[in-house]
């Protein structure tokens, strides 16, 4: 199980682990919103509104 495994390998007491988890999740969501999703959306054709060859 990867999430329990990750949890066991995080250093420090519980409050420190929770902080690390919250920060990592925030970082992942931020990079998804800022870079990954804009790129994916451009690849998907369902939003196109221009005419062209």
């Amino acid at each position: 199980m990867m999430y329990p495994w990750l949890w066991r390998h995080l250093p420090g007491p519980t409050w420190a682990r929770v902080t690390i988890v919250v920060l990592s999740v925030a970082l992942v969501v931020l990079s998804l919103f800022e870079w990954v999703f804009p790129w994916v959306s451009e690849m998907l054709p369902y939003q196109d509104q221009t005419v062209g060859e």
């Binding site: 199980m1 990867m2 999430y3 969501v29 998804l32 919103f33 999703f37 804009p38 994916v40 959306s41 451009e42 054709p45 369902y46 939003q47 196109d48 509104q49 221009t50 005419v51 062209g52 060859e53």
Partner: protein, 248 residues
């Protein structure tokens, strides 16, 4: 729950986040960018129009301290001749504002150069097809915009009716176009943005405008096209065209 389950749950969460991002967050971000673009265009007539009250077809300033200045009739030119035509700026520079009373008395959006999705359309909203006519120019002033998400500047493109005003404001002039018709075409039908719409190769004699957006909503199967023609233009610095207030 095994590793497979964890991966599937994670993928589900990411897909859910994508939907939230696409449907809501892009609107938040793009509206902010588009408002900033409006603010940055330092035109004589501000885009915050004075409040008006309308009674019996006649409208007047709602606040006596903020009078409305309307372009006098003698300054309106009912032919493209002599109109000040701006040069095409480098992408993605914003060079004009689009006012569409049919879409609300407060509808005003920036028009920026280029139709690259990431640089112009996703950020700044309405994009001008490179190489097509500029506002007021004889030919076809062709612009594209999202119908859903990213601030959705052309959300109500299907609600435009023949005769509706499409007003373009540039640094030097106001251009009032009137909708002449709409059509639904396939994405490869570039003739809709030809200098004479749907007559590629023909020499234009009119100043046209063409709006392109996706159709149906949330799909890219077809394109919703609206055509219009210039009714008149007038220099800036003499107030607003009355069409801005949605009175005609």
């Amino acid at each position: 729950m095994g590793v497979t389950g964890e991966v599937l749950v994670t993928a589900g969460v990411i897909l859910g986040l994508f939907v939230v991002w696409q449907l809501f967050y892009t609107d938040v971000l793009s509206s902010r960018t588009q408002n900033a673009a409006l603010e940055n265009m330092d035109f004589v007539e501000d885009f915050h129009v004075p409040p008006v009250t309308v009674s019996g077809g006649v409208f007047s300033a709602a606040d006596p301290d903020v009078p409305i200045e309307l372009i006098p009739d003698e300054l309106k030119v009912y032919t493209p001749d002599g109109a000040p035509i701006a040069a095409e700026p480098p992408a993605p520079e914003s060079f004009g504002r689009l006012w569409v009373p049919r879409w609300g008395s407060d509808y005003v959006k920036p028009i920026s150069q280029g139709t690259d999705r990431r640089i112009t359309l996703d950020e700044l909203g309405i994009g001008h097809y490179q190489g097509t006519a500029m506002p007021g120019e004889v030919g076809n002033f062709a612009i594209a915009g999202h119908r859903t998400t990213y601030g959705k500047p052309f959300a109500d493109v299907d609600k435009l009716a023949v005769g509706d005003a499409l007003i373009v404001q540039t640094e030097e002039a106001w251009f009032v176009y009137r909708v002449t018709g709409s059509e639904i075409v396939l994405p490869h039908q570039v003739e809709v943005i030809a200098a004479v719409p749907n007559e590629p190769g023909a020499t234009p004699t009119e100043a046209s405008i063409t709006l392109t957006s996706c159709h149906p909503r949330f799909s890219a199967a077809k394109r919703f096209i609206v055509h219009g023609e210039l009714e008149y233009w007038a220099p800036t610095g003499h107030g607003y065209p009355e069409e801005v207030f949605g009175t005609s």
